[in-house]
């Protein structure tokens, strides 16, 4: 139903687009602009070209923090990607089998934490993992692993991993639901036909079901990517803006927060903050670009 530009209809879209442009598109451009400026103590701003970015990437005062946050973020993403999504696939595959009793109940339960605020999740796992009050040591004792217990959240070498696993615990329900929905959408005839040909369930899963849900797996990947490079709340709620111990849990989101608003002795800088935000934007944009132009196009399907 394409026709000449119908102004009377565009009018109905106008309020939404006006709001959207004024508050979303223009701010984006303004942040991109601000990244090229610097603020002097007198309060006025001057154009400095790429100086902020060069400072961010090379000046020892800045780059150490930035690259630390970047590395942590990549690590955070990889852990979530390769722990959360395979578990989600496994659970979805099990739940989509015929005649699993209580499938709805398991789904509801595993999906429940995704509805809760990250602040709440951070809380409860802090209590559970607490060496003083927590129950993890005792629980591990039941299976003979009590000696393995460590104050994981407080330890520099394990805090980030622990936080990423907490994030996995909370959000595994989302990919599980998406994968489950696409698994049950596969027509029964296809599976029946394969079964008559003598294929085993195992074989059917890997050669028929899995290839058919590739678009959903692509979607799950990009959602994980965007979500993790945006991550902020969990770290802030559990560790504060300082992302301790010793910045070992610092992600780009918390690094941005400190740069932008300042923290303790560090003075907040809107222009440096804008440079960090723009960098985050570019990282996410390139990930999304790769997804749309290579994966999505190849899969020939318009999903999310």
């Amino acid at each position: 139903m394409k026709r000449a530009f119908p102004w009377h209809i565009a009018v109905f879209l106008a309020p939404a687009f006006l709001i959207y442009t004024v508050f979303s598109a223009l701010p984006l451009l303004d942040t991109l602009r601000l990244g090229f400026f610097t603020t002097y103590d007198s309060g006025h701003q001057t154009f400095v070209g790429l100086a902020n970015y060069i400072k961010l990437l090379t000046d020892p005062d800045w780059s150490a923090g930035f690259w630390n946050a970047m590395h942590n973020n990549i690590k955070f993403f990889l852990i979530v990607m390769f722990v959360q999504n395979p578990i989600a696939l496994l659970l979805a595959a099990l739940l989509s089998m015929h005649g699993v009793r209580g499938a709805k109940g398991y789904q509801t339960l595993i999906f429940l934490p995704t509805l809760l605020s990250v602040v709440i999740i951070g809380f409860i796992w802090q209590l559970i993992l607490s060496p003083l009050w927590g129950v993890s040591e005792k629980l591990m004792g039941f299976v003979g692993l009590a000696d393995w217990f460590q104050p994981w959240l407080g330890d520099e070498s394990s805090a980030l991993i622990t936080l990423s696993l907490i994030s996995v615990w909370q959000f595994v329900g989302v990919p599980m639901m998406l994968i489950y929905a696409s698994l049950i959408a596969i027509p029964d005839e296809i599976i029946e036909a394969a079964r008559i040909e003598g294929a085993s369930s195992w074989h059917i899963f890997w050669t028929i079901r899995l290839p058919l849900i590739l678009p959903t797996l692509g979607l799950v990947t990009i959602l994980t990517f965007v979500g993790n490079f945006n991550a902020f709340d969990l770290i802030y709620a559990v560790k504060g803006a300082i992302a301790g111990p010793n910045y070992s849990t610092d992600l780009l989101g918390t690094f941005f927060y400190r740069t932008f608003f300042g923290y303790q002795s560090q003075i907040g800088s809107p222009t440096m903050g804008a440079a960090v935000a723009t960098t985050m934007f570019l990282i996410i944009l390139s990930g999304v670009g790769v997804y749309f132009y290579f994966i999505q196009r190849k899969l020939q399907r318009f999903a999310f």
Partner: protein, 282 residues
């Protein structure tokens, strides 16, 4: 499937379920205990005597920073924020989705692509200019400003949900209605909207949980009078008192969680069904 495999399947599911039940159980039972009982030891045991003191304190008298009036104020702030924000963003999404799928015009695909793009903008990029814009409109640090921010950031998602759902409604239906003389609004209100229940539920639940649970915007764009419950909860947990009152903290966490859990329990079945119908297939 053979018997042993079925056993493995249920074992895996059971372990997963335990792994999810346990933290929720700890949260609930801790909130019903007294501090003496928590100090005495086992977090796993059932509360000896059920005590709602922690709930009362979390709601009415716990300290969040210098003020000591519990979470009640924050809770009602969140309610006042979430209701208009969810309704407005959902209504705009439904309208946009309707136009972008059933009244296409030159440039409508571009408009849709732009909105999609909005889904992937990191919110950090928007913080400062958004704060400035709110300042110009005189909405800085106010409830109206916070609602506004949530509406803006929600439009992209709600439009996507509705647009993908409406693409599945046959165009013939719209054409027939137009031949009968129905106009833009009449078709929307009498034909399209009544068919939208599944996606409407998905969008409402989705927006409700997103906005209720938001932390970053609440932290940045609100102050005293307008702070939402997530910020209150964080303040409550980080207020240094001589002892950490885990029972009060857990009760507070549950108070913050109850509305989203209630929504999901009441309307959850629509959510799963609608997700399968609208969001995944496009």
């Amino acid at each position: 499937m053979s018997k042993p495999w079925r056993g493995v399947l249920y074992a895996v599911l059971l372990i997963a379920a335990l792994y999810y039940l346990l933290p929720l159980y700890v949260m609930l039972s801790t909130s019903l205990k007294t501090m003496d009982e928590i100090r005495a030891g086992n977090l796993l045991s059932l509360p000896g005597a059920i005590s709602f003191d922690a709930w009362h304190k979390a709601w009415g008298t716990a300290c969040t920073g210098i003020e000591c009036s519990g979470l009640s104020g924050y809770f009602w702030n969140s309610v006042r924020m979430v209701i208009p924000a969810v309704l407005i963003s959902t209504a705009l999404g439904a309208l946009n989705g309707y136009v972008l799928s059933k009244w296409r015009f030159r440039g409508s695909e571009l408009a849709f692509a732009m909105l999609l793009f909005g889904l992937y903008i990191p919110f950090q990029v928007l913080l400062l200019p958004m704060a400035q814009t709110l300042g110009w409109f005189g909405l800085a640090r106010s409830m109206a400003g916070l609602v506004f921010v949530h509406v803006v950031c929600g439009i992209a998602g709600t439009t996507l949900f509705f647009r993908n759902f409406y693409v599945g409604i046959p165009d013939e239906l719209i054409k027939a209605a137009r031949l009968d003389g129905a106009g833009f609004w009449r078709i929307f209100l009498r034909i399209v909207l009544p068919m939208s229940l599944p996606i409407l539920m998905v969008t409402l639940i989705w927006q409700f949980t997103q906005i209720w649970n938001d932390f970053l915007f609440g932290l940045v764009f609100s102050s005293g009078e307008s702070q939402p419950i997530t910020v209150g909860l964080n303040n409550l947990a980080n207020t240094s008192t001589s002892v950490k009152e885990y029972n009060v903290n857990m009760a507070a966490a549950l108070i913050a969680a109850l509305p989203t859990i209630a929504v999901y329990v009441l309307a959850g079945k629509y959510f799963v069904r609608g997700l399968a119908a609208g969001a995944v297939k496009g």
